[in-house]
């Protein structure tokens, strides 16, 4: 064996597979600390492929292991692949907005090729042969790709919009604990400047976002407009690759940056105040059935106030009585170019029954924390289904049942463990209850005594009830915004279904656990809304603004 060896020399003599094994037991920050000790170790750690592959493999949010070699082709090293994955991981998961009230649920997930994709699930009816027979309708919202020129530069961002268009931009920052996803315009300059977008008035933010999105719009070529975005079959590979190459070439040719002077001359009324928004607001009002609610925001804006969606008002003046807003002119002059950007931010948000209280004046999506099932909390996660029994199928006499997605989470209240089923998607023609309503809440510690009303399921098999819990289901209350509740029971059947039965009416909501990623792979893409509305739909609406397909869903069985 070698003679007396210590210090960096000893560490450098370590076989690479041992180093990889040690790496798999450390966090990235430990490896980076080791790389900062001396030149030789810095070189060894940064060049070690096995070390960073090990880090990718232990990162719980990594893409599936079989995709890592596929992704590696797009990065100079596993270190930079790891960095891409780590920095974007906070964006993975389910995001929502209060509007429209039928549901605005967006799932962000890794693509087959190196990318993060976000899809909106469209409020819809249950497919005639059940959810598994599909297809689930979805619309693309945005996608993020690594920057091929320089993997240390911000990732590339593409917002999707109506008419099969993409709108290139970049990812400005992702907070590790991001709970709000913001669509912004950033003004870049050579010298670091504070982010000004958040200090613009709502009207100015909307105006500059609309201007940039329109200006950077690129139509997707017809041969790629219908190309798959997720890999469902082997034959998808070539189209996925073609689509990715086109996006990268497009971003190289049109990076989505607009010269400041061009922006200034086009937004020539930059000195205008929010009152000029009335024309645009009018257009919105004419289009939306719930325009009165939308109008409230505009009135607040005119009065210099902002309002959160559940009604909490905050003044836009600071304690010295000075306006918090900066002018659009000052914002544009803070940089040399402007462009679309996506920012993952952490904000202090209050929640009510597992639903975040959202801002009415931010172009934002809000994270829905998804609890993992564990002992004693087995039903946490995403469930989908319809009203009626037998489950999962539209019957001949009642076709077109509304599909519901519910997020089930546990919350402790007054020493009791509650299971809360939050509505995140409702496929009715006109909304029944506010988005984010608790469709039912059951007490985990209180078994139900009522019997399950049905003996057999749709296949004439005997139904065996494993567990039953006492609780309350949603009911009409004081207007739309404040639903009431009526007693009922949650039944868990032998085949993993859950069914909430309202005691008096015997109305039943039957649910099965969802694998949204798999449903999306087999799903059907529908056209996206115009880009800004496709990201955050800020106007109150009670109908399906995402799809104009005919529907006649039924409420009860």
């Amino acid at each position: 064996m070698a003679e007396s060896r210590c210090g960096s020399e000893a560490l450098l003599a370590m076989p690479e597979d041992v180093l990889a094994m040690i790496s798999s037991l450390l966090r990235a920050r430990d490896l980076c600390a080791l790389a900062q000790t001396c030149r030789a170790l810095h070189r060894a750690i940064t060049l070690s492929e096995k070390c960073w592959l090990a880090q990718c493999l232990i990162l719980p949010t990594s893409p599936p292991p079989h995709l890592l070699p596929v992704w590696r082709v797009s990065f100079p090293s596993y270190l930079l692949l790891f960095r891409f994955v780590l920095s974007l991981s906070p964006l993975l998961g389910l995001w929502a907005h209060q509007n429209p009230e039928l549901g605005n649920a967006v799932l962000a997930l890794w693509g087959h090729l190196p990318s993060l994709l976000a899809f909106r699930i469209i409020p819809q009816e249950l497919p005639s042969l059940g959810l598994e027979s599909g297809p689930l309708l979805f619309a693309p919202v945005f996608e993020i790709l690594p920057n091929p020129q320089d993997c240390l530069s911000p990732p590339l961002f593409f917002l999707h919009g109506a008419g099969d268009s993409v709108h290139p931009g970049s990812v400005s920052m992702v907070h590790p604990d991001s709970n709000v996803l913001l669509l912004e315009v950033d003004a870049q300059s050579q010298s670091p400047s504070p982010p000004g977008f958040v200090r613009l008035s709502f009207g100015d933010r909307r105006r500059v976002l609309d201007f940039v999105a329109k200006r950077v719009r690129i139509a997707v070529p017809p041969n790629l407009a219908s190309a798959p975005m997720l890999r469902h079959r082997d034959e998808d590979d070539s189209l996925l690759q073609m689509r990715m190459s086109w996006l990268l070439d497009t971003h190289k040719a049109h990076n989505g940056r607009i010269d400041r002077c061009v922006a200034e001359s086009n937004l020539s009324g930059v000195g205008r105040k929010a009152s000029d928004d009335s024309e645009v607001a009018g257009n919105w009002r004419r289009r939306q059935p719930g325009f009165l609610h939308g109008w409230v925001f505009w009135v607040d804006e005119l009065l210099g106030k902002s309002r959160s969606l559940n009604g909490t008002k905050t003044s836009s003046m600071n304690i010295n009585g000075e306006s918090k807003h900066i002018s659009l002119q000052d914002f544009l002059r803070s940089g040399d170019t402007i462009g679309l950007s996506l920012r993952g931010a952490q904000m202090k948000l209050s929640t009510y029954r597992a639903w975040p209280n959202m801002h009415g004046n931010k172009f934002a999506l809000y994270k829905l924390p998804m609890q993992k099932p564990e002992t004693g909390r087995e039903y946490a996660g995403l469930w989908g289904g319809t009203f009626g029994w037998p489950p999962g199928r539209a019957s001949e006499d009642k076709p077109g049942k509304a599909l519901f997605f519910l997020l089930l989470s546990y919350e402790e209240s007054d020493g009791q463990l509650l299971l809360i089923a939050t509505k995140i998607l409702e496929g009715t023609h006109y909304v029944l209850h506010p988005n984010g309503s608790a469709m039912f809440i059951v007490k985990v510690g209180e078994p139900a005594v009522d019997p399950f009303p049905w003996v057999k399921d749709g296949d004439s098999h005997q139904v065996e009830v494993k567990h039953a819990y006492k609780g309350e289901g949603i009911a009409n209350g004081y207007g739309f915004r404040y639903p009431g509740s009526k007693p009922g029971s949650l039944f868990v059947t032998h085949n993993g279904l859950i069914a909430f039965v309202w005691r008096d009416t015997k109305v039943v909501l039957t649910l099965e656990r969802l694998n949204l990623e798999e449903l999306l792979k087999k799903g059907e893409r529908v056209p996206a809304l115009p880009p800004i509305a496709n990201f955050a739909y800020l106007t109150k609406s009670y109908s399906n603004v995402f799809a104009g397909f005919p529907s006649n869903p039924t409420y009860s069985s």
């Binding site: 064996m1 000893a10 370590m14 040690i22 037991l25 990235a28």
Partner: protein, 163 residues
């Protein structure tokens, strides 16, 4: 502990002689030597009659490794073994040169259980340490200029975000 045993015993059990790089001889049971995948292959190929040279491992390291292999060939209860492993590693990591050579030798001899144990111990020495603490622990000279340190900090800053 590698045991030197009598001729009678050697006849009773299947014994094998291993010779370290500094010519130290160790006579051990075949099942103990078999813990090393490399030695097992040599025994399968060349038999156990002649002494097997372990040229890349010094006597003190081979002795310690055989001590580990002997203990791990007895099939004792898991909690007994975990306690023993901990004491074995506590002793080994006191001398970093010895510890490092033990790691290289166990890797060379392909004793996966021991490589795993050493990797876990090694990772424990690095966890949650600052660059300066690691330098002190492993006696590393810092040859980075201030500019290089700043550059590294900039390029690795992302890793210091909590996951």
């Amino acid at each position: 502990m590698a045991t030197i045993i009598t001729k009678e015993q050697q006849e009773k059990e299947k014994m094998v002689t291993l010779v370290s790089s500094d010519s130290e001889k160790f006579v051990v049971e075949q099942k103990v030597a078999e813990k090393s995948h490399v030695i097992k292959m040599v025994m399968n190929c060349c038999g156990i009659e002649s002494p097997i040279p372990v040229r890349r491992v010094k006597g003190d390291i081979l002795k310690s490794i055989l001590e580990y292999c002997e203990k791990h060939s007895k099939g004792e209860a898991q909690e007994v073994m975990e306690k023993w492993d901990k004491e074995y590693m506590d002793k080994a990591e006191k001398d970093l040169v010895f510890f490092h050579d033990l790691m290289l030798a166990s890797h060379f001899l392909h004793i996966q259980e021991l490589v795993d144990l050493i990797a876990v111990t090694f990772a424990g020495m690095l966890k949650m340490k600052s660059p300066e603490e690691i330098r002190q622990k492993f006696n590393i000279n810092n040859d980075l200029t201030k500019e290089q340190e700043e550059h590294i900090m900039t390029t690795f800053g992302w890793a210091f975000q909590p996951i």
